[in-house]
Symmetry: D2
Subunit: 286 residues, 4 copies
């Protein structure tokens, strides 16, 4: 399978990429969504997405304990759980992956930055490579899970997330009686501010942080995704408590989410969009 469709993948690394690194930092430059090969730069914002979101009212005190300093709830303690199927991603040479995203609206008051936006408590993705690039380059608190493509039958969506056979999330959305013209609330396709808590443990000084900060993004430098189809619906979700034996690397996180009271489900929506952002506008908040 040589010649005709061969591209310039093997040409000199240094001509193709900015000098951005991630481990193994000395073996080559880090190719990725924020460092596209120059010969493929036109693919940076190429990608398709469907997203299924359900919201629930929880308890303000219970939710606030998981917020970092200088952050407070922006209104009602509503958490949004969104399941994303990404396909035809330019930066992955046409591949895709799925995401689960747990967020709420907060106000951040730093010395300089005073913003309202979507705080992401936790994400799961079903491909390891974006998990580690997102954690390290952006401070996105991503974890790995098996996330099936959202399934739709007769307007009803079913989503789930599983780790080595243990299903820790079920989510369903019924759009049968939904509205196709309602404004989209939050989610991957929204254009507001996103905030995450970036943290790295210091090697050998266990319990100490090397990095502990808020990272903030205006997705302003990416062309906005275009909504192809959307519909509101009613739905529900549940995080299922895990034993250490079920998820030895993640059970403490799962159980924090499973312990949040779900006082009332607040509906949700399905959105299909074309075009993706690359989050390169992330920066450390001040």
């Amino acid at each position: 399978m040589n010649a005709p469709f061969r591209t310039d993948g093997l040409q000199a690394d240094a001509e193709e990429h900015e000098d951005i690194r991630r481990m193994p930092a000395l073996l080559g430059r880090a190719s990725g969504p924020r460092n596209m090969p120059r010969s493929h730069a036109h693919l940076t914002y190429v990608g398709d997405s469907i997203e299924v979101t359900v919201r629930a009212l929880t308890d303000a005190a219970a939710l606030s304990q998981y917020l970092p300093p200088r952050c407070r709830l922006a209104g009602e303690p509503v958490i949004a759980v969104a399941v994303n199927q990404l396909t035809n991603l330019g930066w992955l040479a046409g591949r895709g992956y799925n995401i689960v995203n747990v967020s709420t609206q907060i106000v951040f008051e730093g010395d300089e930055d005073k913003v309202q936006g979507r705080f992401i408590f936790c994400l799961w993705e079903n491909k390891a490579d974006p998990v580690l690039t997102g954690r390290e380059e952006l401070g996105m608190p991503k974890l790995f899970a098996d996330i099936a493509n959202p399934r739709e039958i007769d307007g009803r969506w079913e989503c789930s997330a599983v780790w080595e056979g243990f299903k820790f999330l079920d989510l369903r959305l019924d759009t049968t009686d939904g509205d196709e013209n309602a404004p989209i609330q939050g989610g991957y396709a929204s254009r507001g501010v996103t905030l995450v808590h970036r943290y790295h443990q210091r090697t050998g000084e266990w319990g100490q942080a090397d990095i502990d900060q808020i990272v903030i993004s205006h997705p302003s430098d990416s062309p906005p995704p275009r909504a192809l189809h959307q519909k509101t619906g009613v739905g529900k979700f549940a995080f299922h408590p895990a034993r250490w034996e079920d998820m030895p690397t993640q059970y403490t996180f799962i159980n924090a989410l499973a312990g949040l009271p779900l006082l009332e489900f607040r509906g949700g929506q399905y959105v299909k969009t074309k075009g993706i952002g690359n989050l390169k506008a992330f920066r450390i908040a001040k």
Copy 2:
């Protein structure tokens, strides 16, 4: 499936773990090999390993370009490629995973630390969770790949590593005429010093590092693994060049390794061991 075999997985996080965090840092303490639940601490060093290693002589200048500052080759430019199958791991509640490890012997001369040891250029693992804990807690330059269990027929071993269908590594070892009593050279079961280059990009200041250091380990606080069986052999390996389309997040690294001339294969060995270390003795080199 309730009651009788239920363990204390759901009991208070804070009673079970040291206050060590990784993202999502505020959702709970980070359970893992260096932060076992107290109720399962006796499982810390439980695990079985088989390891298949092949060594090759390469070019000193070609190899040295991938070493960090203050590091130089300790002797001949010999790289060792080791494939590990880990099973029955206590810290994963009895699960396992596989590793590919590329290393050479170096001398590190810091202000205080002047040591000789095994420098790991790159690792691949077939489970995302240890990839990210190892990267963040230790600075281990781990990547994700599909790594089949090493297969043995009539004393001949075959190993490979694949990323989404693209096989970037083949490795074979023939132990037919091997020696069961030769000393083990390097590898997972060895007890020497390990060094890695820990590096984290700074969010938003692309091309700048937040962390750029050498991390060093004496595995002295783990009980030594016990060799159950071992045998030397002759072997070979090859890294296969990748296009961006084949491995868009890793091709620059693969091609660096594939570009190293393999001047002479230097044999290898198979080792089966009982007991594992947890690498908690890693610290930032001075």
Copy 3:
């Protein structure tokens, strides 16, 4: 996750399905594409497909040796290799899977049936359940493989099929200069006759057949899929020879295909369709 979206999955099996069986034949009726639950019968023909096909001229004698008795080539010895991505399948409750299909045009002359159609030498699918239902209910010579979703960048498609890390098929199609209005030749979306060689070994009398026959289909009872988009292109493919160690259950088949001379590539096409057939019109040829 109880109540609201619960469907009738648990209701009496006998009310839901025709009395069609497959092993384990006595544990329940066989649900599947040709035996939909009555409550979901409206989903029978629901599904989306993209298909990437490339054709090549091979040698008539070499190809004919793999045809069953009463079958002969219908014209030039052209084989078509098609890679299909099926999504949103009604019969799989919204799931999908991928197919590789190797076929040629033949004439079958039976005692009663004298037809021309597409003879399928072999298929691979990346989901075990349709592999076994297709083999047993239809005589479709399906095997299991890992088949990535076809990937497209700038009009160029790349497909592959892999078994446990061994890539036995690469296929590429470049539609850059293609025609969107050319008639579709063959493929999943075509409406012609399909023929397969159904064969079952007799248990214990090794080398004897229990079933050895031609099965034939007019897909006439399914509503025709609707083409949403299509484009011709130029392409190529290669089957890669396998050792027994690489594919111990399939290497004889792979090597037969890899041994066919590919004298000239004859172009191909990409087709996106809506709607699927269920092949229930298959019958034993006479």
Copy 4:
């Protein structure tokens, strides 16, 4: 990676194999556990197994409804659920896979064969290739599922089986107070008679059978596996009811098993063995 370890995989098919076929029947001879390449015939019975079994008393009438004609329970209605991890299989060139097996003891009274043995209601395997060879060559009612390796901590075993994220089986065995010298009851390593109900639907005449028979085996032509370690224990298991949406191809079978009352658990055992059979002694019962 050429030359030194190359084997004869590509040599003439006809010299390597008996003329046994399975679909695609004309592309080559069928390599497999009952048709090893002659050059690798010495690997036929090579393989390692661990098996975790738990038994339960159920209701005789409920269980008997799933037995074929001429079969009746041999004693108490006790079902055994066994989870097997097979490794280092010679016929798979050193690979392995896992099995779940549901069986009971029956008496079969045919015209000639009057035997007592283990009737297998259903099996699941996590590799497609042995699923289809076993179904077609032996009549083994195998289905595909994700089956994790049995996990052991402190003498307690945990097993499960999952289909696309839906866990339909949990099984646990506690050997803490077990006996290492008790005789093994049933299971993969046992040497008794095995019976299955072989059934194939006739293509196009939906609801009619092409094959409907009892297949029987004395594993007498394989050298007996050698028990390396064994221990009895107490345990439990549960089949979890599935909706059509959860397992559209298997839910009728799962729900039959989930509907069996489990009146009393009868203990179980863990067994580790060396050596496997190839079931070539299977024959159609008379």
